[in-house]
């Protein structure tokens, strides 16, 4: 498989580059300088690039069959390390970007080669949902472009490469053969990867832009599920409305003189992270551990295999349901929106001149 050849080649190149660089530093500055460079690089996250490289070489040379170890867990480790790469790219100095370039470029080329070699994709762009998917992928990509123009191209481009490498790893691991599944995995990489980047970004504006990419991923999910009206509503309301509101909130509440502290104190942070990770693990086990696939297969047999392909427009049915079955919730929500609008305007109104004089009450300026 050409994918593994390229990945193994890039891993060998990576290790070779590291070795020669260490040797050169050792010849110039002695072994202490080499050791210092090595520990510095490890602390900057190089181990996350070395582990997959070693794993890939290990699998490529066929060592796992000699000691009777299946390659599944190792490949999983490899893929998870690729997933971690964007995180590393955020908090690492630029001097190690060359490693990721070598790894990522080869992975991308391998993925492209494999896509061209396999003819399993029933790619029919007549289906408007796939066109819309392309549109939303463009939205996510343009987010990256904006971020790259603002903060420099190095990390952003490498983040894209690492995401593509993740997709490539998932494609080769799960042996994806149809276009819909490929769309799902790409969308999942966008949604979850942007979520991780929201978590690790140190600037709120960056968080807002990654939220945009994640919300676009969710819109793609809705389109994949055949909910076209919902997908477009997601774009209009979330990306067009709520996100802009967030950006205004960020701009109106930042102070230049006080640097933002991203995280809480450790006393709060450590138990919080433990609890959060535990709850996440529990949810994932509940969602993945139940045998949904069997039930779903049964259900697909009932509603017919064409349920995905022949999805019809949902706007007509939704409008009819809103005006008949769901008329009461519809009216209640409209009243709620009115109340929220009036309330938000009242709460966020600017203080008039009399207010600052009579202090905290805030009622003096009205009327």
């Amino acid at each position: 498989m050409i994918f593994h050849d390229l990945l193994a080649l890039s891993s060998a190149l990576l290790l070779l580059y590291l070795g020669t660089r260490l040797v050169r530093v050792a010849r110039e500055g002695g072994p202490e300088a080499a050791l210092e460079l090595f520990t510095h690089a490890m602390r900057q996250g190089l181990w996350l690039a070395i582990i997959p490289a070693l794993c890939e070489l290990y699998i490529y040379l066929g060592l796992e069959s000699r000691i009777g170890l299946e390659s599944g867990p190792l490949r999983m480790l490899l893929i998870s390390a690729f997933v971690m790469l964007p995180v590393v790219l955020i908090m690492r100095t630029a001097s190690w970007i060359a490693f990721e370039t070598i790894l990522g470029a080869a992975a991308v080329v391998g993925v492209l080669r494999e896509f061209m070699a396999s003819d399993g994709f029933g790619l029919s762009l007549s289906d408007s949902r796939y066109l819309a998917l392309v549109v939303f992928a463009t939205i996510a990509a343009s987010t990256l472009v904006v971020r790259g123009a603002v903060t420099g191209w190095g990390r952003t481009g490498l983040g894209v490469l690492a995401g593509l490498a993740t997709v490539g790893g998932a494609v080769s691991f799960f042996s994806v053969t149809d276009f819909e599944a490929a769309c799902f995995y790409i969308t999942a990489a966008i949604a979850v990867g942007s979520g991780v980047l929201i978590l690790v970004s140190d600037k709120i504006v960056h968080m807002a832009f990654w939220l945009l990419a994640s919300l676009a991923g969710f819109a793609s999910f809705y389109l994949l599920l055949g909910a076209d009206f919902l997908g477009f509503t997601q774009v209009l309301v979330y990306i067009g409305g709520i996100l802009i509101l967030f950006l205004f909130g960020v701009m109106l509440t930042q102070r230049v003189d006080v640097p933002l502290k991203a995280t809480s104190s450790l006393r709060v942070l450590i138990p919080g992270i433990v609890i959060g990770v535990l709850i996440t693990g529990l949810l994932v086990f509940l969602a993945g551990g139940n045998n949904w696939s069997e039930k779903a297969a049964k259900d697909i047999a009932q509603i017919g295999p064409n349920a995905v392909k022949a999805a019809e427009p949902t706007a007509f049915g939704l409008g009819e349901a809103f005006m008949s079955t769901y008329i009461l919730p519809f009216e209640v929500v409209s009243v709620l929106l009115l109340v929220a609008m009036v309330g938000a305007t009242y709460i966020a109104r600017g203080k008039s001149e009399g207010d600052s004089a009579d202090g905290a009450d805030g009622e003096g300026g009205v009327a």
Binding site: A188, G195, L225, V237, L283
Partner: protein, 132 residues
């Protein structure tokens, strides 16, 4: 302790093996309800972690948006893949979620703006007084 870890690991391994077998992929297309639920659970956890670890009100609100989105995805996925259910029902619930999320974001940002006007900060740790 190690026993429970081992159980967890075995469950994970079983999951992966199950996901990678061709039989699980064979049904119509490779993606089923389980895949959407796992993605939704992951994003829910990310939103939870954002809420826990961030100090800024606006960052916490972003985490809440992620939670609402993952819940909405669950509604749509369940309605699509369950027998005898109209897929539109789940979509309508998610539409209501989107509308309420919009109202919530507007109100919460207004409150954040008001807090900033009062105490000159949007950090949650600083907002510990009821009287502005």
């Amino acid at each position: 302790m190690s026993g429970s870890f081992g159980t967890c690991f075995n469950t994970l391994g079983g999951l992966l093996a199950q996901a990678s077998t061709p039989a699980a992929e064979a049904a119509s297309s490779g993606v089923g309800l389980q895949h959407y639920l796992v993605i939704s659970a992951l994003v829910f956890g990310l939103g939870l972690l954002i809420i826990i670890t961030r100090r800024s009100t606006i960052a916490v609100l972003m985490g809440i948006e992620l939670l609402l989105n993952s819940a909405g995805l669950n509604f749509v996925a369940f309605a699509k893949y369950s027998a005898g259910t109209d897929p539109l029902d789940g979509q309508i619930v998610t539409l209501f979620v989107i509308v309420i999320a919009a109202a919530e974001a507007a109100l919460a940002l207004a409150i954040a703006l008001n807090i900033f006007n009062s105490i000159n900060s949007v950090e949650l740790d600083d907002a510990h007084s009821l009287k502005g």
